[in-house]
Structures are given as C-alpha cells and as structure tokens.
C-alpha cells in the first residue's frame, strides 16, 4: 500500500446526505421503541418454540395444581370460587406467569449485550430509551399472549369468571400492568448482572419464594403468622386478590378487604415499582459499557 499522497479533501463523502435527524424528538423516541419492539416480537414469532415453552409451563401448573391439589383445597376456598379450585387458581396463575415471564426481559437484554447488539444500538442516533422501552413493550405483548392462552386452556378445563366480562377484562389488564412493572425490575437486574447464567439465578431465586409466599396458589389464612404477615402485604398477594375480586366477586377477597381498595393498592404497587425501577434500569443501561 502506498503512502497517502494527495490526501482527498475532508468532509462528507460524495454519497452522503445531510444527517437524517437533527435532534431526537419524543416522537422519534416512540418510533424507535416501536422498531425495537417489533424486532423483539419477530424473534418470538420466528422462534415459536419460545412461545410454546412459555405457555406450556403455566398450563402444566394449571393442570397439576387443579388435579393434584384441587380436591384437597376446595373445602378451604371461599364460596365465591363456586366450589372450583380452578376458578381460584386461574387469577393466581396470571400473576405467576407474570412473575416467571418477567425473567425473559432480563435474559433478552443480556443476550443483546453479549452479542454486541446493544453496542450497535448505542452507536446509532436513536433514542436512548428505545432499547428498554422496546424490550419491555415486546415483553408486555408476549405476556398478553401467554396469559391469554393460559386462560383459554383454563376455560377449556372449566374456568368461569363469576362476575362480568368487563370485570374479567379489567383483571386481565391489571395482571398485564403488573407483568409490565416486573419487567422493569428484571431489566434492572439483567443490566446489573450481565451474564446469562447468573441472570437465570438472579431472576428465579427471588421469584420462587415470592410466588409461593403469597395468595397465588392458596389462601394465606393457614400460613404461620410470621409468614402471613409478609404474604398478606407483598404485591403479588395484593394484585392476585384484586384479580380474584374482579373475576370471582368481592366474596373471593379475604375477610375485611374491599375490592376498590385492593385495586387501588394494586395500581399503587404497579406505579411505584415502575417509578422506582424504570429510572434504575435506564441508569444501568447508560452505565452498561462504561
């Protein structure tokens, strides 16, 4: 190679257009999040086994719990469950699916970090928020499908909401809102932990006790008092109780609870989690390469 004799003039290459974006507007940020979200969803669509396994697991819980534990538990359920453990279980499983599924947010982000995709995104003139917004947005859509499929299987097995369709729908949306909030928690965890193997543990270790020490599977009434004190007040129980209130009627709530109050608390938990963890996740994302 010869020396640079007669260096070409500096400046834009002949084919270069003016920069396409002067500054990134909020509208650009929404567009970018949609582009990233679409990309993440295409992965789910192109690799249907991901969606299949995500759905098989709650369906397995649904069947096992209904047929293994259902008979023993039915007597302990409030009359609002209409004598069917399945009716009691499906709203709880919506939250279980949300909790377990949220780990996918962490895994997806870590995979993108590993493969250098996040570096590519960070070198583009795109909104900084889009990678996280697109990820949590796509996970929300995925959760909507997985929870929907799980409810569908539940309906085939005999699940029936005892109130009205609008109330059932409100419960479904509340579950999705909670799933979205948990996605932000897991996004933060993933960006702090950063290796796929460690993320698996970091995600599932806290999720297991949270799901079991709650009203997701069983009423908390028979738990020892120290555990019950925790279980009754943790967000999974609050949101699960709200779902049951909405889908099965006020009678499904533990004695002394009012549905409107529980729904309000659920909303506050969701808002609180998002307000705390979305900024934490964004901060972790900003720091990820430095």
């Amino acid at each position: 190679m010869t020396a640079a004799t007669g260096t070409p003039a500096t400046g834009a290459p002949s084919g270069a257009a003016a920069p396409l974006r002067g500054r990134i507007t909020p509208l650009d940020a929404v567009r970018d999040a949609v582009v990233i979200g679409r990309r993440n969803l295409l992965r789910v669509v192109r690799l249907p086994q991901l969606l299949l396994f995500a759905t098989v697991q709650p369906v397995m819980f649904l069947i096992l719990f209904t047929y293994v534990f259902g008979g023993a538990i039915e007597g302990a359920l409030p009359p609002a469950a209409a004598g069917e453990y399945l009716n009691w279980l499906v709203p709880g499983l919506m939250i279980q699916v949300s909790a377990f599924g949220s780990g996918q947010t962490a895994l997806g982000l870590v995979e993108d970090l590993e493969k250098g995709v996040v570096d590519r995104f960070r070198s583009l003139p795109m909104a900084r928020s889009a990678v996280l917004a697109g990820r949590t947005g796509a996970d929300l859509a995925r959760n909507a499908v997985v929870i929907g499929l799980m409810v569908l299987v539940g309906a085939l097995l005999g699940f029936r909401y005892q109130t009205s369709f609008p109330r059932f729908l409100a419960g479904y949306l509340l579950a999705l809102g909670f799933a979205h909030a948990l996605s932000w928690v897991m996004a933060t965890v993933g960006l702090l932990v950063r290796t796929p193997e460690a993320v698996q543990s970091a995600v599932f270790l806290p999720v297991f006790p949270l799901v079991f020490a709650s009203s997701v599977f069983l009423p908390t009434a028979t738990m020892p008092s120290w555990l019950r004190a925790f279980a009754d007040h943790q967000p999974l129980t609050v949101v699960t109780n709200s779902l049951r209130g909405l889908m099965l009627g006020e009678g499904a709530l533990p004695p002394g609870q009012v549905l409107a109050d529980q729904v309000l608390r659920s909303g506050l938990w969701i808002a609180g989690i998002v307000l705390v963890f979305a900024p934490l996740a964004i901060r972790a994302y900003r720091r990820v390469a430095t």
Binding site: R43, D119, P125, T290
Partner: protein
C-alpha cells in the same frame, strides 16, 4: 493537509486500576483508511469505543467530522458507522430486515428505509440472500451484513473493530475490497487490526498502539523505515567467504552478520540499491561471483515487533476488561493467524 476528520487529544481512560488509554492523541485525515495496530489489550477496542460514543473517556477531547463526541454524542452518531468485533446482526431476522431496522433507527422512514436497505445489500453482494434468515448465512456473509448495516446511515466515518477476525481468508479479501470501495466513495475508515498483513494492505496510515499509548504513527513505509533499514544479503561460495566479508565491510561500513547456516552474509543497505550495486561491483572486481544477491526490505512485522516490544510481556494485560463478561471469548478471538 486539510483539517483531520477524526481528532483525538490526550484521551485517558481507566478500567478500575488498569489504564487502558494513557494519553492518546491522533489525527486522521479524511478519505483514507487509517489502521490502529496493536497487540491484545493494547487499547485498540477501548479507543474505538470512545470514538464511537460507546465509552466516555475519563479525560481528553475527541472530535469526529467536526463534532465534539463527548459533548454531543447524538450529533456524532449521525455521522459515524460502527461494526464491532462480533457481527451484531439478528439471526432470526432476514438480512433485509436487519438492514432496514438500522435504517429506521437512523431516521429513515418506510419506502426510504426499504430503498436504502436494498441498495446497500446489493452493494455488499447480499441481494440474493436478502430475504433469507441470517441464521442460514456463513460467517463471511454475516460480517458483510454487519458492515452493510453500519453503512445504511451514509456515515462520514466508519469504525471497524477487527473487521476480519474469525472469518475465512476468502471472506477477508471480500471485506478488504469492500473497505477499499468505501474509501473510494469518500468515506473515511478507521479500523483496528492485529493482522500486520491487513494493516499493510489496507491502511494508508497506521498508528501502532501499545499499553494504551500511540508508540508510532505514519505510513506503513515510514514505520518500516523508522525501525529497521533494508538489508543486503549475499551468498558466495565457501572459499570466497572471508574475502567477501572484508569487501562488504568496506562497502557497508560494518562487518557482515552471518545467518545460522553460515552461508549468507548480511549488511545494512543504508543506500538501498546503491549499496547493492557497490557491493556487486566490489565482489566482481575481486573476481568473486556471488551465488545469490538480495535486498530485504523490512516488513511491517519487523516494525511491529520492534515498536511493541516482546508481545509475551503484555499479551494478557487486564485491558481485556474493556468488554466485561466476555474475557474468554475475546482472548480466543484475538489469536493471530
């Protein structure tokens, strides 16, 4: 020379207690291929990450295409393209979807994004494979797709971090041609490499970087000339060897070295061809007919080894931490061919 398109001044960056960049300054003129050459852990990747807005240095000033990268990274991102060490493409998307997505993230919409993607894919010889999923692509194709994606935004400066690491020789030559083609189109390319052959073939100017510092800078020829002179090597029959050595000492001003087999006599050829002519004339006048006479120009390998010292002393420096969590992969990828 016009204003440099990339201007780096006194950039310092630490990872924990390891100094990855230790006061790097360099100027890259527009419209050329500029090579950053250095051993593992020298700071090449860290410098690329600083230039491409991924890493904010602890100190220093960086300007790309007239934009202060640290003060206004978004404006810089509009003007740069980056292809990292690993092809950052999505295996489950098609080639076209990958490139279109990047186009949209540069702000292209709908038909414009589609048209630009088709144009870039054709240019990189991926037109026929565009609608296949990247999972079916070979390593070389993935690398080309990665380069295509980083070009969608018509960058003024392209940063390529080890663009040919881990691909087969044929794909490597394809990438070289693409880089040369890019530069003909007016783009400035700044690439890192640890392959001397690549730097020699592609780069108009080279900066040799070692333990976070630029140890030498110039054209490949300048670097070679700076560290070693051309060597004249003469083979003569055994009987004439002592006399030939005397004559060569007279021509070169120092006694010739012999090689391990003892058949070749080597002296520095300070005047290149003129030294050769003088040596041949002296031998001929003395009635000695050499078996072989050759001028050896120093290679970039000679320059690299002289400039960076014993590579074994810093191969495993902790600067591998530029990419946390993939130390192992990085180490295996950076083994020279």
């Amino acid at each position: 020379m016009t204003d440099p398109i990339v201007r780096v001044r006194d950039v310092v960056h630490d990872f924990g207690r390891t100094r990855a960049l230790d006061g790097v300054s360099l100027d890259v003129p527009g419209g050329i291929v500029y090579g950053l050459l250095g051993p593992n852990g020298a700071g090449k990747t860290t410098l690329i990450r600083v230039l491409s807005t991924l890493l904010r240095p602890a100190a220093g000033h960086v300007e790309v295409a007239g934009v202060d990268v640290i003060a206004d990274p978004t404006a810089a991102r509009m003007r740069i393209g980056l292809a990292g060490q690993f092809a950052a493409v999505d295996a489950y998307l098609t080639g076209r979807e990958n490139v279109e997505m990047v186009g949209r993230l540069y702000g292209l919409r709908g038909a414009a994004a589609r048209a630009r993607a088709a144009e870039v894919l054709d240019r990189f010889g991926l037109g026929d494979a565009a609608d296949r999923r990247v999972a079916t692509y070979s390593g070389g194709m993935r690398r080309r797709l990665d380069l295509a994606a980083s070009l969608v935004g018509r960058p003024q400066v392209m940063f390529l971090d080890e663009p040919t690491t881990g691909i087969d020789p044929r794909s490597r030559m394809d990438v070289w041609e693409l880089v040369e083609d890019l530069v003909r189109g007016g783009t400035t390319v700044l690439l890192t490499t640890q392959y001397l052959e690549e730097a020699d073939r592609l780069a108009d100017r080279i900066a040799v970087i070692d333990v976070g510092r630029i140890v030498s800078e110039g054209t490949a020829d300048e670097l070679k000339a700076r560290v070693a002179s051309t060597v004249l090597e003469v083979h003569v029959p055994e009987a004439d060897r002592a006399r030939a050595a005397e004559l060569l000492t007279g021509v070169a001003g120092e006694a010739p070295a012999t090689d391990t087999a003892g058949t070749a006599l080597r002296v520095p050829a300070r005047d290149g061809g003129a030294t050769l002519v003088a040596a041949v004339r002296a031998l001929s006048d003395a009635g000695i007919t050499p078996d072989d006479v050759a001028l050896h120009r120093p290679t970039l390998d000679d320059a690299f080894l002289a400039l960076t010292g014993d590579p074994a002393t810093h191969a495993p420096t902790p600067t591998g931490r530029t990419r946390r969590g993939r130390r192992g992969r990085r180490a295996t990828e950076e083994v020279a061919p």
